[in-house]
């Protein structure tokens, strides 16, 4: 009898979860003008030249229009574009773009100075001068593997460690880097501080990486409650 009640309860819980996920009226949407059936656009010149497979979804499903920033320029990078979008304040994207450009320029100036002042060829091999690779390295170094979630069980709130989705990983890494870059004295420019932070993060040091490590430590401390996730 007791078993049957438990099963019923589980079923009900499942149904309620299902109900919550399938009520589109309550889903938060921000400028989502496309239905989920629409596919992401293919806009790079080299991608467009690739022949399509017979079973390729793009043949049978509608596709979103490319946004303004999605171009086939040599300087386009999807991660950098995302970074700029997160950095934007007051809708002033132009300003964010300028900050990122100047940051990259600063990184290049700092690294090139090291490169050209290095005494031997061996030292030079280990100096990375490309700001894009440094940026990507910094982002990957700041990505968290776990995060915590509050779960109420038996009237008590528990902090439960949960795995992170790739999108959230990226978002978290970027916000930590931006926070580190904007936390500065008044007379220091953002692009100088941000360049410094990115260079540090690429070396697995600095504020952004420390934030990630702190979060990991918190997850480690609460690992006894991991089973509350289900």
């Amino acid at each position: 009898m007791a078993g049957a009640v438990e099963q019923l309860g589980k079923c009900m819980r499942c149904m309620s979860v299902c109900k919550r996920t399938w009520t589109p009226a309550f889903i938060q949407t921000r400028t989502a003008i496309y239905q989920p059936i629409y596919l992401e656009p293919t806009f790079r010149k080299e991608d467009l030249q690739q022949p399509l497979d017979e079973l390729d979804k793009r043949k049978y499903q509608p596709i979103k229009a490319a946004t303004n920033e999605q171009t086939s320029l040599a300087s386009y990078d999807a991660v950098v574009a995302k970074f700029i979008r997160i950095l934007t304040k007051e809708g002033n994207k132009k300003r964010a773009r300028k900050i990122v450009d100047k940051t990259f320029e600063n990184i290049k100036l700092i690294q090139l100075e090291k490169y050209h002042k290095a005494a031997t060829e061996e030292e030079r091999q280990y100096i990375e001068c490309d700001p894009l690779t440094i940026f990507h390295q910094a982002i990957t170094n700041c990505k968290p593997l776990l995060t915590t979630q509050k779960v109420k069980r038996g009237g008590v709130m528990y902090t439960v460690p949960i795995p992170v989705k790739p999108n959230y990983q990226m978002y978290k890494a970027m916000t930590w880097l931006i926070d580190a870059g904007t936390d500065k004295e008044r007379d220091i420019r953002v692009w100088d501080k941000l360049a410094y932070e990115l260079l540090n993060a690429a070396q697995n040091e600095g504020k952004g990486v420390r934030k990630k490590q702190e979060l990991h430590k918190l997850c480690e401390a609460n690992r006894a409650y991991a089973h509350f996730r289900w």
């Binding site: 040599a74 290049k108 100036l109 090139l112 001068c129």
Partner: protein, 371 residues
């Protein structure tokens, strides 16, 4: 380019006929990338053959004659590249040619560099200054003419001539800059004052006082710095021909001498002083008249040295205005064009050589351009 040539030389392999070697050499010459660097680092030897190539300025020369006047980016790049290179361009070589051919017993010739914003007027001026410096000229350099109009920190009414305005701090700063630039030459020349200068009741410079001492006084008593600058310029102007040292007066943005300043008039706060009212500008304006000899005056005409409402054209007559144009008439105008295709390519190659262009797609684009 070098590596390919070296390989050819290093691996002779089977013996080739002279004709084969010759044809091979020509092929490699054609395949070779365009040369963007020259080893000729003495600006006196730069001719049109070196056009579009970069020459390296020795660090001590860069420190001495190009400490001010170039754009901020140039300094940052020079620091990052661990070398300072300038491109040899037509206006500079043309001007150096004129300077080499000029007759120095006659009154000074005025040269005006003009061109669009960012076309390289100041850089050409720096190149010519490097030439003059290596030739042992005395250089009087005003890094930015509009500086005195816009950024003056402390303005005081002149003691010497009522109605004029002194900028003691700027004057002292310019004097130290001038002294640093010509340190060795000034000690070697040991110029002595030919006039008596009375600063106040107690202090004066008698005839025969060394110029160094007068400058020292100006720096010690900053109140008189602007007047001391006038005295120094006057003595240099008078003694250039008899003493036999050549003088270069280089001004970046000369047209600022005839524009208006930010300084408001005491009696009527709606009006602003003309630049001619500043005593420093007054002294420099005397220097760019052609009433002295054994020297040259080079100025750049820059619309950005003017007020905001007078930047429509970069041509000398418009930018200088009627008064300024008449003051500088006659002069030799030299047009500074934007980069030609050859110069742009050589600049890109220089950037790739210094690893400034990091994106691999840049190199692909450049190779496509070269075909």
């Amino acid at each position: 380019m070098c590596s390919a040539a070296r390989e050819d030389r290093a691996t002779p392999g089977t013996r080739e006929s002279l004709a084969q070697q010759f044809s091979k050499a020509i092929d490699s010459h054609h395949q070779r990338r365009q040369i963007f660097r020259t080893t000729e680092n003495d600006p006196a030897n730069h001719t049109e053959h070196h056009e579009g190539m970069f020459y390296t300025v020795p660090p001590e020369h860069f420190h001495q004659w190009m400490r001010k006047g170039l754009t901020v980016n140039m300094y940052r790049m020079a620091n990052a590249f661990n070398e300072s290179s300038l491109m040899v361009r037509r206006p500079a070589t043309e001007l150096i040619g004129y300077l080499q051919m000029a007759e120095y017993t006659m009154p000074v010739i005025r040269y005006l560099l003009y061109g669009e914003y960012g076309s390289g007027k100041s850089t050409s001026l720096a190149h010519v200054m490097h030439y003059c410096g290596t030739q042992g000229w005395l250089i009087l350099h005003v890094p930015w003419g509009a500086f005195f109009n816009r950024y003056s920190r402390d303005v005081q009414p002149s003691v010497y001539r009522p109605g004029r305005l002194d900028q003691p701090l700027e004057a002292a700063e310019w004097m130290t800059y001038f002294r640093q630039m010509n340190e060795s030459l000034l000690t070697q020349l040991n110029i002595k004052v030919q006039h008596k200068y009375v600063w106040n009741k107690r202090e004066s410079a008698e005839v025969g006082t060394p110029l160094a001492e007068v400058m020292e006084f100006g720096l010690a008593r900053v109140k008189y710095a602007a007047d001391v600058v006038g005295a120094v310029l006057k003595e240099i102007r008078l003694q250039a021909a008899p003493q036999g040292f050549k003088v270069l007066m280089a001004v970046d943005g000369v047209n600022a001498f005839w524009s208006t300043t930010n300084i408001k008039v005491e009696d009527d706060r709606t009006k602003r002083h003309n630049a001619g009212n500043l005593s420093l500008v007054h002294h420099f304006k005397k220097m760019i008249r052609s009433d002295w000899s054994n020297g040259a005056v080079i100025g750049t005409v820059d619309a950005y040295a003017n007020d905001e409402d007078q930047r429509e054209s970069y041509l000398p007559r418009y930018v200088l205005g009627k008064e300024g144009f008449e003051w500088l008439d006659p002069h030799i105008p030299i047009y500074v064009p934007n980069y030609s295709e050859k110069e742009a390519l050589s600049c890109l190659q220089y950037y790739i050589d210094r690893k400034w262009l990091q994106n691999p797609k840049c190199k692909v684009a450049l190779s496509r351009l070269q075909k």
